[in-house]
Symmetry: C2
Subunit: 273 residues, 2 copies
């Protein structure tokens, strides 16, 4: 009788047990997750020791997370999963290309006046005027669009990583004007290392990957009636554009930041497009 019950029988039993939610989407997601989890185990011939190492890595990743750091987002980012979610949520063409949200966004960034600086602490870096227009994909300027902007300071840290930084340093919310234009002041965003002291960092080292990201400014653009754009604008002169630890670089998002001003226009797709 031993081994008469095959792994295919087992999979069928598990899938049947996860087909009874009242929410059909739960059933769909559970079925797909179970099929892929089981196929991963079978294809790799995962050993007990490897399974337990994986379990331990998952526990450690959860326990490294807190209200200021989400190590599972970092893991998702470094495995290219976060970027893929953005790509699959952005299938219609024509708008600004999306990229990863990242683990460092904070709700409640201060609304700042047009043209104001997002830097609340001076690092001696020259100011960089960041400006452009927010339009619909048909070219119509969008007034009152909301830009949520954040980036690393010149010391390579986000505010949440540096207790000596004022809270909300290098963060700000801006609105586009009647003609769709926006403007704020920042400094050139530095290349920086994503946190390497947790399980995601350990994974990168085990895989001979570095943990650098090329210099970029995060922007989320929202306007009623349009799909939200979650993206970055990258510095064309930065290192690591071809080996971003989180696979977030797109050619259309790279601009010259070597001067006093950078111009980047955003195109938003109407919701019903």
């Amino acid at each position: 009788m031993a081994d008469s019950f095959t792994t295919a029988d087992h999979l069928a039993q598990v899938l049947a047990a996860y087909s009874k939610s009242d929410n059909p989407r739960y059933n769909e997601l559970a079925q797909a997750a179970i099929r892929h989890l089981h196929a991963f185990v079978e294809e790799t011939g995962l050993t007990r020791e490897e399974w337990f190492a994986g379990i331990s890595w998952l526990v450690a990743t959860g326990q490294k997370s807190d209200d200021k750091r989400n190590e599972f987002i970092l893991a998702s980012d470094t495995l290219g999963v976060s970027m893929l979610v953005e790509m699959t949520n952005h299938k219609a063409a024509g708008g600004t290309e999306p990229t990863v949200f990242g683990p460092f966004h904070l709700d409640g960034a201060p609304e700042r006046e047009r043209g104001a600086s997002i830097a609340d602490k001076d690092y001696g870096a020259p100011p960089l005027l960041f400006t452009g227009t927010i339009c619909s994909t048909d070219g119509t300027p969008i007034a009152g669009a909301r830009l949520d902007v954040w980036q690393a300071a010149p010391n390579l840290c986000y505010d949440v990583q540096d207790p000596d930084m004022p809270p909300m340093n290098y963060r700000g919310v801006f609105r586009s004007a009647e003609d769709g234009t926006y403007a704020f002041v920042t400094t050139r965003p530095p290349a920086y290392q994503i946190p390497g002291d947790g399980p995601a960092g350990a994974m990168l080292r085990a895989m001979n990957r570095h943990n650098w990201r090329p210099g970029h400014t995060h922007v989320v653009v929202e306007a009623p009636g349009y799909k939200t754009v979650i993206t970055h604008v990258f510095d064309a002169a930065s290192d690591y554009l071809d080996s971003d630890a989180v696979f977030g670089v797109r050619d259309s998002l790279i601009v010259d930041m070597s001067g006093e001003q950078v111009t980047f226009d955003f195109a938003l797709e109407p919701v019903d497009a």
Copy 2:
């Protein structure tokens, strides 16, 4: 330029980045994990909100874990993954069928004399003599085999779940005699609920699954030169044999526990088989 970079291009880029470990097995596991993670996202059209719900569930599952409870093992068990790992680590035929290890094993259970009881607290349940022979798959008795035994007490709890229980209650390590026989005393193992107060329990409820396991005694049998057997022995009269929350039941592991004695023989495969 937008959207010219496809999800297939993205997957190829991520796979290339995870092909450079000095450990070829790491590359193999990473490639398989990435292929399945990305396929899951694409096939389901996973939304940002669903992705973030998943991330939050993973964080909560890690944070629910501690030195006495591993919520990721519970999740793995309830998704049928743990059972599959046992099945794929047990491909050669002939030995006792394996089942899940479960989250409640403790290292350091006391060595007890042949025939001793594993119960250190009296619940009024009648004693059950558990005995049998440990043999090689060719029928040769194995002397000095190590049996590590644990089960829930009649109050439906393992010792680690009940602060009023003596530590190591219903746990014990035994050795087989020269003729391969073993013997210990226990009480009939009750059906019980796996912990439902964490993210794994929330998942079960969302999927309309119960969290009961049929009554069983855990046994790990080890002997030099043989593959370790990790299994349970189930009570034939228990509820939930056909709907075990962790998919661990196998017909060959079900025995009559309604009398004063239960007999179960273990067959171990030689390592070089």
